[in-house]
């Protein structure tokens, strides 16, 4: 999908009228990324998706947990909006909710596939306003922003249950006790 603009005109036939009718049921944002190149629809979006943050609402709304978090960090427990907060909350759950019988982690990361690792890194790199294009339109990383992104990624690995699986399935098959 990301490389569609580079090869669509050379490799694909423009969609016929029947397929155009099908794709125009999608929101324009989806069409811009998954279908249209230079104003012409070349492809049908296939399983389009977007990264989101999911969390145990019952735990985040638990008054005792919220109080414990406030006592420790002097901040309200709520879904994080920056990665430093994400790591802080993960650390809170990992350190304060593990028992002698069960070690819990505040988050989980899948590390058995370079594609997934790139997905985790780029999410943090873009959060630092990083771009894959540098001066003179050369492809590359902004060094300072990339280092910040790596730091927040490595910090999260220290708080996370690291799954060596090569896809997200293992993460989604965890028991509910692991979902903090």
């Amino acid at each position: 999908m990301a490389s569609l603009p580079w090869f669509a005109e050379n490799a694909f036939k423009p969609l016929n009228d029947h397929l155009k009718e099908l794709v125009f049921n999608y929101p324009q944002l989806i069409l811009d990324h998954f279908s249209i190149v230079k104003g012409t629809p070349f492809a049908v979006p296939l399983d389009p998706s977007i990264q989101m943050l999911f969390y145990r609402k019952d735990i985040f709304q638990d008054s005792m947990v919220k109080r414990m978090f406030y006592e420790k960090h002097k901040q309200e427990l709520k879904p994080p909006v920056i990665f430093e907060e994400y790591n802080r909350i993960a650390q809170f759950f990992s350190e304060d909710f593990s028992t002698a019988n069960m070690e819990l982690q505040g988050t989980c990361v899948t590390t058995g596939n370079t594609e997934i690792i790139a997905s985790e890194f780029l999410l943090r790199y873009y959060a630092e306003s990083g771009s894959l294009f540098q001066s003179n339109n050369k492809i590359g990383l902004d060094k300072d922003k990339a280092l910040k992104a790596f730091k927040t990624y490595f910090d999260s690995l220290n708080q996370a249950l690291n799954l060596s699986a090569n896809w997200w399935d293992a993460l989604l098959n965890l028991s509910k006790e692991m979902w903090l």
């Binding site: 999908m1 990301a2 569609l4 669509a8 050379n10 490799a11 694909f12 036939k13 969609l15 990324h33 998954f34 279908s35 070349f42 492809a43 049908v44 979006p45 296939l46 399983d47 389009p48 998706s49 977007i50 990264q51 989101m52 943050l53 999911f54 969390y55 145990r56 609402k57 019952d58 985040f60 879904p79 994080p80 909006v81 920056i82 990665f83 907060e85 994400y86 909350i89 993960a90 505040g106 988050t107 989980c108 997905s119 985790e120 780029l122 999410l123 943090r124 873009y126 959060a127 630092e128 997200w168 993460l171 989604l172 509910k176 979902w179 903090l180």
Partner: protein, 44 residues
């Protein structure tokens, strides 16, 4: 907490054995898109 593509999460979100889940935008507010595009080759 986990960050994952929403289409992968839909199965577990409908599992009644699990407590209610909350969801929000990813930290930093710049999520990656996932999925693909299905086109018809010029050679067909």
């Amino acid at each position: 907490m986990i960050i994952v593509y929403m289409n992968l999460f839909s199965g577990i979100n409908q599992n009644t054995d699990f407590p209610s889940f909350g969801y929000s935008e990813v930290p930093g507010g710049k999520p990656l898109l996932g999925g693909g595009s299905l086109g018809i080759s010029k050679l067909t």
